[in-house]
């Protein structure tokens, strides 16, 4: 019954212009769901960070402050938007669009209850990886076009960080692809009778940390490291263009939580509750871990961030590929707990081995 309501994939063929109907329903549906969930998650994060700091978050606007983000949207929608005189006007306007749209598009292939949200691409993972690399382009265009020293320096750093963390992000998914034997996300979710986090702990470890760096959240938030370069790349943006960058950051956080939930925590599968509720629960769990890390950990310096990606995560990702590959190639019918244990041993062994080089504080992280 759930399939019929959520995924009238069957209606696509019967109804005369079912294709267009399907497109209309789900395109508007994805954008609406994403925007409302962004508003809710902004409020959720401010309340959660408030609880971490032993204070109440926003609770005056509406019951429990739920309308706080709505007020933010209304205010920033009607804020004057300033265009710097010596900025590169066209790129200045284009940057938020390039940064925001790929993040929304990534949701099209996320599987919910049996079928993908919009289009069940059989190369789902490659599509997501391609889209996730366009956002850094938009951020750099914004930084360069606004003719400001701070934003230029900050966007240079941001691009190097995003570029460096894409490689471990992509390589960490190869293990998952090997275990499922297909690129489509739907297959991956169905293949997860045992959630991949147990089978692929290294993959999850690298994916989660690399995605933290992709959305430039706490230990790696060079993006708007306001203690260093004032407000990062979006200094000159005000009003709706700044809000679009702000939206991009939160949409990326939600999309990457969805990916972590889908690829490693078993997507929409779950015993009692309907599938959509399971997916939302897992997304909220991953998002609150991200907020928890943001509220506690200090920020790493740019050269440590880069060193961490190139010298720590990349070798670990290659080792993970070799280990999982050898299992799948030589011993396909190995029991799943055996694969999981081997992976865990690899992860812990690698960390202990490498940490001999990084004595606490003796040698800075990243410099071997």
């Amino acid at each position: 019954m759930a399939e019929l309501i959520l995924f009238p994939a069957s209606i696509r063929s019967e109804l005369p212009f079912g294709f267009w109907l399907h497109l209309a329903i789900f395109a508007i549906g994805i954008i609406a769901i994403l925007l409302t969930s962004v508003i809710i998650f902004i409020w959720f994060e401010r309340r959660l960070v408030g609880r971490f700091q032993l204070r109440k978050g926003p609770n005056r606007a509406g019951p429990f402050g739920i309308l706080q983000s709505v007020a933010d949207v209304i205010k920033i929608l009607t804020k004057e938007d300033i265009i710097p005189s010596r900025a590169d006007k066209f790129l200045f306007w284009l940057a938020p669009v390039i940064a925001f749209s790929p993040v929304v598009v990534m949701l099209a292939v996320v599987p919910v209850a049996g079928g993908a949200l919009l289009a069940d691409l059989d190369i789902g993972i490659l599509f997501i990886i391609a889209m996730s690399s366009i956002t850094s382009l938009g951020i750099f265009t914004g930084g360069w076009a606004s003719y400001n020293k701070y934003s230029l320096l900050s966007s240079m750093r941001v691009v190097s960080q995003l570029v460096s963390y894409e490689i471990p992000l992509i390589l960490s998914l190869v293990g998952v692809v090997m275990l499922t034997g297909s690129l489509s996300l739907d297959e991956m979710v169905n293949a997860q009778n045992v959630p991949f986090i147990l089978l692929q702990p290294t993959g999850f470890f690298i994916f989660f940390i690399a995605s933290l760096a992709e959305i430039s959240r706490s230990p790696f938030d060079l993006l708007e490291a306001d203690s260093e370069l004032v407000a990062g790349y979006n200094i000159e943006y005000s009003g709706m263009k700044f809000a679009t960058f702000y939206l991009t950051e939160y949409c990326e956080a939600i999309v990457l939580s969805t990916l972590t939930a889908t690829l490693f925590l078993g997507g929409w599968q779950g015993p009692w509750l309907p599938p959509l509720v399971w997916l939302l629960l897992k997304i909220t769990l991953v998002f609150s871990i991200i907020v928890w890390i943001r509220a506690t950990l200090p920020r790493l310096r740019i050269d440590q961030v880069m060193g961490f990606a190139w010298k720590f995560l990349l070798p670990l990702a290659v080792l993970n590929i070799l280990l999982t590959g050898s299992f799948v190639a030589f011993w396909p019918e190995a029991p799943s707990w055996m694969i999981g244990i081997a992976n865990l041993v690899l992860l812990i062994g690698y960390i202990l081995f490498r940490s001999r080089f990084f004595k606490p504080g003796g040698v800075t992280v990243g410099a071997s």
């Binding site: 320096l153 938030d221 260093e228 920020r299 310096r301 992280v365």
Partner: protein, 367 residues
């Protein structure tokens, strides 16, 4: 101004989120590394020393509150001791003990704020800052109980203190002393062995022992470089020689050592407070001095161990009821004289951390 093609001239200006107020640095940056830096002062220069020459001795006390607005008890103490030394005024025993209690409570507040903003610059998004702020609010309640003000107290007078301790003060203080050590251990658990804190602050912004002494640096920054120089031990004033406490010193003078020295000093202040509360004598709290009193002609310099360093007042009197000249030895300004040696060669992110670890207060730098 010929500068190489790709070195950018940038200024971390007065309106900057992490410069602890209105401090400005003009920096030449080559890629990520700072090649040269020039601090610019004066954005909070209110001319306190000129104003003091127009006010009577008693009216200058509220002015000294606003010098280092996080350590107003210590400023009052140093100024009153200088005038008492000039005019030879005796301070009753109980007032001496009360003054030590207030000075140590103020030192705890100032160190908590210094450590909190140090971790804010490191990017922990206010969480340790707000945890330390809860303890600061408890001390602020204690000081408000005594002086009626939350930040700038105007509490000390020549010859003692303005009011005696109200009844609920001592039980509240001993309650605070009971729970504070556990709080300090809580900060330590999060921050002491934190891998990122170590990576960001170990061996960063090293200040050598000779450069520290030569640049007349004082306070936790000097002690972090391994120099065992604390006015409370070297030249004990009021009744510090009756308490036993030790002076924490660092080993290699980097940001991490400055943070460690400040955390240890919190614990030493608690030790002093416990001993002061246990030995608090009875008696009157002030030898009253006439409102418009005229000290004898002459000059006097007296210094105390403020929370940023050696805080000294040099007062010259020409016999009238207004000070002829009042000079404030501002530890924050002098702690910055080695700033260039500490910053050049480091990255921008380190420069913000190193500047935060010196922990200056702009009211004292610009006076």
């Amino acid at each position: 101004m010929a500068h190489s093609t790709d070195s950018v001239f940038i200024n971390l200006g007065p309106v900057h989120p992490s410069t602890h107020g209105v401090f400005r640095m003009r920096a030449h940056i080559d890629g990520e590394v700072i090649t040269d830096i020039e601090p610019v002062f004066g954005y909070l220069h209110r001319g306190i020393e000129k104003l003091a020459e127009g006010k009577s001795y008693r009216q200058v006390i509220p002015l000294t509150d606003r010098l280092d607005y996080v350590a107003s008890m210590n400023n009052n103490l140093a100024y009153c001791m200088a005038v008492e030394k000039l005019a030879g005024i005796e301070v009753p025993e109980r007032a001496v003990y009360i003054r030590v209690i207030m000075a140590e409570l103020q030192r705890i507040i100032s160190h908590l704020l210094g450590i909190g903003s140090f971790f804010n610059d490191m990017g922990t998004f206010f969480t340790p800052f707000f945890y330390m702020f809860i303890q600061k609010e408890k001390i602020t309640d204690l000081l408000e109980m005594v002086s009626g003000q939350r930040l700038l107290f105007n509490y000390m007078r020549f010859g003692g203190v303005s009011h005696d301790l109200p009844d609920p003060f001592l039980p509240a203080l001993s309650q605070f002393l009971r729970e504070m050590p556990a709080e300090i251990d809580k900060y330590e658990r999060l921050l002491k062995e934190n891998e990122i804190v170590l990576a960001r602050s170990r061996n960063v912004g090293v200040l050598s022992r000779e450069m520290a002494i030569n640049s007349s640096i004082s306070g936790p920054v000097l002690r972090a470089s391994g120099v065992n120089w604390d006015i409370r031990k070297a030249d004990p004033y009021s009744c510090y020689d009756r308490f036993d406490f030790d002076v924490p010193t660092g080993s290699n003078g980097d940001c991490y050592d400055r943070y460690r020295v400040r955390i240890e000093e919190l614990r030493q202040s608690l030790r002093i407070l416990e001993q002061a509360v246990s030995k608090l004598p009875k008696g009157k709290v002030i030898n009253p001095v006439p409102l418009r009193f005229k000290p004898p002609v002459g000059e006097a310099y007296s210094h105390i161990e403020g929370n940023k360093g050696e805080l000294g007042f040099y007062i010259v009197s020409d016999g009238s009821d207004k000070p002829y000249r009042m000079h404030v030895r501002a530890p924050s300004l002098l702690n910055l004289s080695a700033l260039r040696e500490m910053l050049i060669g480091w990255k921008l992110a380190d420069a913000i951390i190193i500047f935060g670890s010196i922990d200056i207060c702009l009211g004292e730098v610009d006076r």
